[in-house]
Structures are given as C-alpha cells and as structure tokens.
Symmetry: C2
Subunit: 114 residues, 2 copies
Amino acid sequence: MHDCLFCKIQKGEIPADIVFQDDDLIAFRDVNPQAPTHVLIIPRQHIATVNDIAGSDETIMGKLFSAAKIIAAQEGVSDDGYRLVVNCNAQAGQTVFHIHMHLLAGRNLSWPPG
Amino acid sequence: MHDCLFCKIQKGEIPADIVFQDDDLIAFRDVNPQAPTHVLIIPRQHIATVNDIAGSDETIMGKLFSAAKIIAAQEGVSDDGYRLVVNCNAQAGQTVFHIHMHLLAGRNLSWPPG
C-alpha cells in the first residue's frame, strides 16, 4: 500500500529500530513504548485488520506468535512473561491499518487489558 | 493434560458457554467478563504458553485469528472493533496454562493495555 506507514518501514523507506526480521515478518520497537519492552511484529504483506484475514493468511498470522516467542527470548522476558495484543478498528484503538501484534513486557501488566 | 481446566472444557467435561467450535478450536465466554463481549478462543490441542509453540503449531495459532474474525462478526462488533490479547506467564497475568486468546469488545478499550 503506497501510503501505509508500516509498509514503508518493512521496505526500509522509513527507519525503525528493528529487532527481528525474516522473509515473512518484521519487528521493531514501538516509538511510544508502554512498557520496558514494547515491540511491534507485523507481516510484510499488507493486511489492514483482523477482519481482512483470509484462510490463506493463517500460516503468516501464526508466524506472528513464533516471532513473539523468539523476540521474548532475545529480550530476556520469556520466563517472567509478556502480553501480546492485536487491536482491530476504532474501539480497540487501532491507528495504523496494517496488522501489528504488540509485545509488551518488563513490568507487571494489569487486568483488564485496557 | 489430565488436570487442565481448558482441556476439560474442550472435551465437554466441564460446561462452558460455547460460541464457536470446529475441529481445531473452541471458543467460550469468559466467566469473569471484562467487557460486554469477552470470549476465550483456545486450540483443542494442549499448548501451555506461547513459549511452547513449535513451528508445526503455526497454522493452528493462525486459526485463532480466523476464529476471532468469525466470532466478532457473530457478536456484531467487527466494525466498531475488538482487542485480542494473549498472556504468557506471570507478569502478563496468565493463570490457565493452556494458550487462550481473549477477544474483548463492546466498549472503548484504553491504552496501554494493562
């Protein structure tokens, strides 16, 4: 998508503090961190929201979790724990319409989750 | 797992308010709802935490998102929005060690997510 911020990041057109990448995914630190570790994991493929996932996207969506596991280990938070959050549309606070999984860690995360 | 609460729910040994199920997944309402819609989506397969996901589990993990999309539509919250949350270990508040995705909707969900 020509004007999608996260597409530009994944293509390297906008800089980001990248912590993980492979052929399918890229992960970088949130510029507005809400916890000591706050990383966004995105598919390289542009999918706007969870409502737009097709059956053929299930493997790539599952890979978000595999990447989260790897990044949590890199960050040293696997054992203490981490929260994964995906927002869909306005009431959830989605602001960039390219699916992204938030990984938050490094502090106690309260309940409810917002 | 013999003593896993969510394994017992998916086998029908403990009742739950089920909103969706197929061969791979089952989804039911949280008994302690934190929003007007609060559903838990779990793989039938016992996987304790995100740290325990294998590469072969990626498709099933992706199906959690497909189920979320279906359930959001059933609940009439697709357009307004919904938040998906997966907690791993203590600092995130994971209490049942069988992977579950929370789907919360029906109110504005604040930021940070806990």
